[in-house]
């Protein structure tokens, strides 16, 4: 029993991290039709930046905030100089964001190290809780908590604010939004920065979770996030939340029971969705 609960908690925590990456990806895609292959780079920069700031200040809160700032700054550069110039040309966008990914992850190796570097859990999040014999690791619960908070904040933003209305409307019909007198390009920038910030936060949370960080992890998690976005449906935040948790939990159980199949199961899930409902579980767009 405690194994099952631990695997579940583990999977949910991983799912939350993937969600932070996938939420931005899906919103950026839904609104701008840009599949941002550099998104994993933002995640990795968040991880490295977070560890670096934690090392300097010793404050985990500061390191998360710093990671978000770093992610948004890089996001701003990406949006301005890579994506905006080729706006509307899907192939060029795909190509240029991949180039961005390449440079971002190589720069990590230049600034820090091409080798994995260790990441520590802050002291107050070390250890575990004991719930009547079931031992739960504090940091994992913390990750889940942050994920839930971010989801709620995102949900409120999208449903309660005018900006959120604009974003959701833009996912459905960009032209109509502009015909209502809204300058959607400004909204693009906002959404891109929001996505970049969430990705970087995800990276900074992952670092203590996995214990080591390395430049290639950006691409690894980005692939998981792509799978999640396809499963959940492009443009749908609830869809990517459900799919991320699904992928996280499934991955955690498979890794324990049938480790050989742990990556394959995500692939199979994605193939299944592509075959049965290419628009994804919650997706309106194909």
């Amino acid at each position: 029993m405690d194994v099952i609960i631990n695997l579940l908690v583990n999977g949910l925590a991983t799912g939350m991290l993937i969600f932070l990456l996938a939420a931005g990806l899906t919103l950026i895609f839904g609104l701008m039709s840009v599949l941002n292959f550099a998104h994993g780079g933002l995640f990795a920069w968040g991880a490295f930046g977070g560890v670096w700031i934690f090392g300097l200040t010793g404050s985990f809160l500061l390191s998360m905030a710093g990671a978000i700032v770093i992610g948004m700054l890089i996001g701003l550069i990406l949006e301005r100089f890579l994506i905006r110039p080729v706006y509307g040309d899907h192939i060029q966008q795909l190509l240029v964001t991949l180039g961005g990914m390449l440079v971002l992850s190589e720069l990590l190796k230049v600034f820090w190290s091409p080798n994995p570097i260790p990441a520590a859990v802050p002291s107050y999040l070390q250890g575990s809780f004991d719930f009547g014999g079931i031992i739960l690791i504090k940091y994992r619960l913390f990750v889940i908590l942050v994920g839930v908070l971010i989801y709620i904040a995102l949900h409120l933003l999208l449903t309660k604010t005018r900006l959120g209305l604009i974003v959701r409307a833009g996912v459905i019909d960009k032209e109509m939004v502009q015909a209502l007198g809204i300058n959607i390009k400004q909204v693009f920038t906002f959404v891109f920065l929001l996505g970049a910030g969430m990705a970087a936060l995800g990276g900074s949370l992952l670092a203590p979770y996995s214990g080591v960080i390395f430049a290639e992890m950006g691409m690894q998690y980005a692939i998981l996030a792509f799978i999640v976005v396809i499963i959940g449906g492009m443009g749908s935040v609830p869809g990517s939340a459900v799919a991320a948790l699904l992928v996280g939990v499934l991955g955690s159980f498979m890794a324990y029971f049938v480790p050989e199949l742990s990556l394959a199961v995500n692939m199979l899930l994605m193939l299944f969705v592509l075959l049965v409902k290419p628009s994804g579980l919650f997706g309106a767009k194909g």
Partner: protein, 233 residues
């Protein structure tokens, strides 16, 4: 003149869609743009909105050149747009749709909203319903209400009768006629009988050009022109 198009030329990819369109819309009137499929009616409205950028020519609204403005600036000048597919935000409630349409939340906008809800009581009835689940006619009214609340002086409405049952068409047309009290309308239609009853001026397009225009009653009486341009015997 509220709106003037002068020798407007628009390309989609390499296709020359609008080949010098000139037309005028008088304030307080309903002007109807007729023409068969592919004549360029929709592109004309999209060109006015800046959704299909014009390559040559001028578009003036209230005397001001708007031909090169981006779509959102055109909308801010006061032109409301109801696209052919209605452009409904499917997972929005009616309330959310109209909230998005109110740019400033000013008293003027609230007044417009109140009038719209008087005119279309259905919208009030389904205030919290997802607009994707409304009937075709209700969606059309929502789209018109959204455009009106958002606009200030001119509505462009693209084929509101499309896909609606005849009785709904009549209702929608009646509402459009009522809206003339408060705004000017440029209406694209294929349904001659319905549109001719509410329109005062008309233009007929064919292959990207205006081929005929005048007062609506002239066209109603002109069997030859109807036969020639609209294929109505």
């Amino acid at each position: 003149m509220l709106l003037q198009l002068d020798q407007v030329e628009t390309y989609l990819d390499q296709f020359h869609i609008l080949q010098g369109v000139s037309m005028e819309v008088k304030k307080g009137s309903i002007t109807v743009l007729f023409g068969r499929n592919g004549a360029g009616k929709t592109t004309t409205l999209r060109s006015i909105m800046g959704l299909s950028p014009i390559r040559h020519g001028n578009i003036r609204y209230q005397g001001e050149e708007i031909g090169q403005l981006p779509t959102y600036m055109v909308a801010r000048k006061g032109i409301g747009y109801v696209p052919e597919n209605q452009g409904i935000f499917t997972d929005f409630t009616v309330e959310e749709t109209l909230r998005l349409a109110m740019q400033k939340g000013s008293d003027e906008e609230k007044e417009k909203m109140a009038w719209m809800l008087d005119l279309f009581p259905d919208l009030k009835l389904y205030w919290k319903k997802q607009s994707g689940h409304l009937s075709g006619g209700q969606k059309q009214m929502l789209a018109i209400a959204r455009a009106y609340v958002n606009s200030n002086g001119l509505l462009l409405i693209d084929e509101p009768s499309k896909g609606l049952a005849p009785i709904m068409v009549e209702k929608v047309m009646m509402h459009i006629e009522q809206m003339k009290q408060k705004t000017t309308v440029l209406l694209v239609e294929q349904n001659f009988f319905m549109a001719s009853r509410i329109g005062e001026h008309f233009y007929i397009m064919d292959e990207g050009k205006i081929v005929h225009s005048g007062q609506m009653h002239e066209l109603t009486d002109d069997e030859e022109a109807k036969q020639k341009y609209l294929g109505i015997a």
